[in-house]
Amino acid sequence: MLIQQLANGIAIGSVYALISLGLTMVYGILRILHVAHAGIYALGAYVGWFSFRLIGDFWLSLLIGMAGSALAGYFVQRYLYSPLLHLPRIAPLIVSIGLFIAMEETFRIIAGPHTLTYNARVGLGDLSIGNFQLTETQILILFITGLILVILWAILTRTRTGLAMRACAMDAETTSSFGVNVNAIIAINFLLGSAMAGAAGVLIGVYDNQVWPTMGSIPAYKSLAIVVLGGLGNIPGTVLASLVVGLAETFFIGVVAIPFPRDAVAFIAMILVLMFRPYGLLGKA
């Protein structure tokens, strides 16, 4: 029972991590609250669903979904955020909210308001040992997020690009004085972060077996809460916060029956943490 809850919590928490990492990376480098990131996530799910319909292969549809999201993220950065960086930070935030609303509506108008089933299977089958059970999609989620996190970690710590990304997040001005092309680094940030969001969209689409226009609404708020919990811009903190929220949701809802929807858990946790650890779980003043 306990192990089962743990596994469910980690599975859902790792998807949260995939969504929130892009958000925290964007905040780290541009100090923008990228609300439309959740739109990019939903876009990934739609592109993935559509390509799955066309070609019928889950793995390929996952890659196409990620590519679609990455491209969309890049365009958002290039044509919407970059021109607004000299303005007060409310400007890109409002653009981001407007874009998010417009994206959701576009999904609804093009693909219809109803849910579309995303019944992708890779033929792994479910795993059950006694009472403990992992569904095929849970295994997929754990495997794919694990793989992506390892790749991201390797990029950030083992490559020159990753070093430049971390340096830019600390101080873009100084980094550019060392001859690093900051604009390219920003673009790579968006490409990577958006691809991860796209992967999360596809995985949730398959996990819930559906894709729908407002599937980004709750992740939009929740991932922001997670990013604050992790300490805005802090990558390890974000992974930790994602797992904490995923576990808290499964435990509180599964064990203690609180009269709230599970989606409020992240916010209650965030407000509590802000009162006692204002810079997030791993943040520093």
């Binding site: 303005l87 407007g98 609303i101 922001l224 604050v228 989606d263 409020a264």
Partner: protein, 297 residues
């Protein structure tokens, strides 16, 4: 006598105008981003509705109580959020909006999804107010708020807010207590939103959690942004245009939200000052027109 339909639109626009101006105090004057303004609107509406329907308190007491409770919640939530970095307020207010809506929806005391009904227009001279009279009552309140806004803008408080909006670090080096003045703006704005909520509840006669969700917060923000953040008349203009737009856009009902989103995006991307902002189209045209006519004269 005005028609019922017209008066409904007028009252709605006025309530939005009060809301937009209250958000303008927080976001326009003090430069703090709140994404959960509708929560305080809702707290006001529910406070007034509950006092009125459960405790039998009259409208004239229930509505000020709405402002008071919204303001107190503002203090309680504002202090932890405003103590830390600026971006936290945007996210936590969004979270507050989410949690407040969930409380209304899931706790039976607040009526759940069915909301609260049986809230009536105020009584005076031994009878119920007509809608037209109610409109003038709200109009007077709105005008008083504009006066208060103007007075504050000319006071040291207004100056302290401007300095915080412009540059927090420089402001505190000049003796401005950041937390005090940010919390003051947040509490004042929240409290006025609560007042608007009280008026709205007695006009709608029944309220539901959905009236006060994130979407509503965005509509209010949209009005401020559209008219011009921090300008004196911008929020009012925004409330008029975006308050009437849904009525005249019934034929394109299907695309209304899309239009909202695109409008918000395009406005900030190309006219970040809003319609009345200093470097925007409207004031520029006005100035050109003025210089043009003075050349002639």
């Amino acid at each position: 006598m005005m028609s019922g339909y017209l008066i409904t639109i007028l009252i709605t626009v006025l309530v939005y105008a009060i809301l937009a101006h209250s958000l303008n105090i927080i976001t326009g004057h003090a430069g703090q981003i709140s994404l959960g303004h509708a929560a305080f609107f809702g707290i006001g509406a529910y406070t007034s509705a509950l006092f009125y329907t459960q405790a039998g308190v009259s409208f004239w007491v229930a509505v000020p109580l709405a402002a008071l409770v919204a303001g107190l919640v503002g203090i309680f939530l504002g202090i932890p959020c405003l103590r830390v970095r600026d971006d936290f307020l945007a996210i936590t207010t969004m979270g507050i909006g989410f949690v407040v809506e969930a409380i209304f929806l899931y706790i039976p005391f607040f009526g759940g999804a069915m909301g609260i009904g049986g809230i009536n227009l105020p009584h005076w001279f031994g009878r119920e107010m007509t809608k037209s009279e109610y409109f003038f009552l709200i109009l007077i309140v709105f005008l008083l708020l504009l006066l208060l806004d103007r007075r504050l803008g000319r006071s040291w408080i207004g100056l302290a807010w401007s300095s915080i909006r412009e540059d927090e670090q420089a402001a505190e080096a000049m003796g401005v207590d950041l937390v005090r003045f940010k919390v003051l703006a947040f509490v004042l704005g929240s409290s006025i939103a609560g007042l608007a909520g009280g008026f709205y509840a007695h006009f709608l006669t029944f309220i539901m959690p959905q009236n006060f969700g994130f979407g509503q917060s965005i509509v209010i923000l949209c009005m401020v942004v559209f008219g011009g953040i921090g300008t004196r008349w911008g929020p009012f203009l925004g409330a008029i245009i975006l308050g009437v737009l849904p009525e005249i856009s019934r034929p394109i009902m299907e695309y209304r939200t899309l239009v909202y989103g695109v409008l918000l995006l395009a406005m900030m991307r190309f006219q970040p000052g809003g319609l009345l902002g200093e470097e925007s189209i409207l004031p520029k045209m006005l100035r050109r027109f003025q210089s043009h006519s003075s050349e002639k004269g």
